[in-house]
Symmetry: C2
Subunit: 212 residues, 2 copies
């Protein structure tokens, strides 16, 4: 996933000015607060406590709560995406790559506490903030597009059946994982996610892979 965002430079903090460092610290703390508490529930007082800054010190860097929430979502999504991509074995293709993606989703939870920022922010912004909603739609699309491309390449390479619908395969993976994550978070155990993993692995191996 591409972003044109300043947080993409977090790996080189030595180049950041003091003000820029403070700004990044605010975004990182806000990301967790919004992810746990939602847009309405995320409070300035909690952010002040987490950052050790006063109100003026925070809003010097952001025009509004909305601006901060937008950056916080981008930060959360980029953080989790980068974590998943860094673990991905790039030599894998086709079904093996999709299965690794599923396994990684289950084994490595969001580095930003509070569950999947995509689902949290989707539900939160659905009947709420339009600009925040647009960010979620974009992130969701980038995720489904990514998986779809893997399927398309695998069809071209003869690893996945030519009559498989790449968009449908990608949608089934994302929907199943997100729904199961919701169940697992409610049940406070991995059972639902493990059941979905077994189901998806079976689906990928038996229904869309070209038999060897």
């Amino acid at each position: 996933m591409k972003t044109d965002h300043s947080v993409s430079h977090m790996a080189t903090p030595e180049k950041a000015s003091k003000g820029e460092q403070t700004r990044r610290k605010i975004v990182a703390e806000a990301a967790e607060i919004f992810n746990r508490r939602g847009y309405d529930g995320g409070s300035l007082s909690e952010l002040m406590q987490a950052t050790g800054l006063k109100k003026g010190g925070i809003y010097r860097h952001f025009a509004s709560k909305e601006e901060l929430a937008l950056e916080a979502f981008d930060y959360s999504w980029k953080t989790i995406w980068d974590a998943r991509m860094s673990r991905m074995d790039k030599t894998l293709t086709g079904v093996a790559r999709l299965k690794q993606f599923v396994a990684d989703f289950i084994d490595q939870r969001s580095p930003v506490a509070g569950g999947c920022p995509l689902m949290n922010t989707a539900v939160d912004s659905d009947d709420g903030n339009h600009r925040l909603r647009a960010r979620v739609v974009k992130a969701l699309k980038s995720w489904v597009d990514h998986l779809q491309t893997i399927v398309e390449q695998a069809i071209a390479q003869g690893e996945i059946l030519p009559d498989a619908d790449p968009r449908a395969v990608a949608t089934i993976i994302v929907a199943s994982l997100e729904g199961a994550l919701m169940l697992s978070r409610m049940e406070r155990n991995d059972a639902a996610l493990r059941r979905i993993q077994k189901h998806l692995d079976n689906y990928l191996d038996k229904q869309i892979a070209v038999p060897r």
Copy 2:
């Protein structure tokens, strides 16, 4: 799903006192407000506007915002559950019944505006209100239990393969539908839900039904 809740008597409003009628009206309006806006986002002023009542007129009936939110969730869940059950053809069994359940989930959306109250409240209460979270966990369990029972009965009747895992089948259906609903609400079209329906129908027909 059983509830011991006063809203279960809504079908006989003629027996309700004036105070009870007011109470029910508050719960019904609050259900939609909380479902759209969440626990933190749901405001007293919006509820006052929706009910035409003043603050005192609302809180005469409820000890706190939490009490009202708990009843509102129960009301939302019962309303959607009753709507689905009333459409269910009780003569169907096994795979046909599971497939009708999937179709109904997709064709008939929540009568309470704002999407699935289960997912909304799950995400909302996950790192928030503990009593609200407990209600969601209970509702989710009742849903998965219901589907699991259908699978168990179908195994006993020889309609579903004996090595199918009833809990896993129920979990796969609930997780897939909830995840796809989130995608469809973000994408503002039914494509994701239709893809999941096709996937689940295929799974039920090809993988767990006893071949005829």
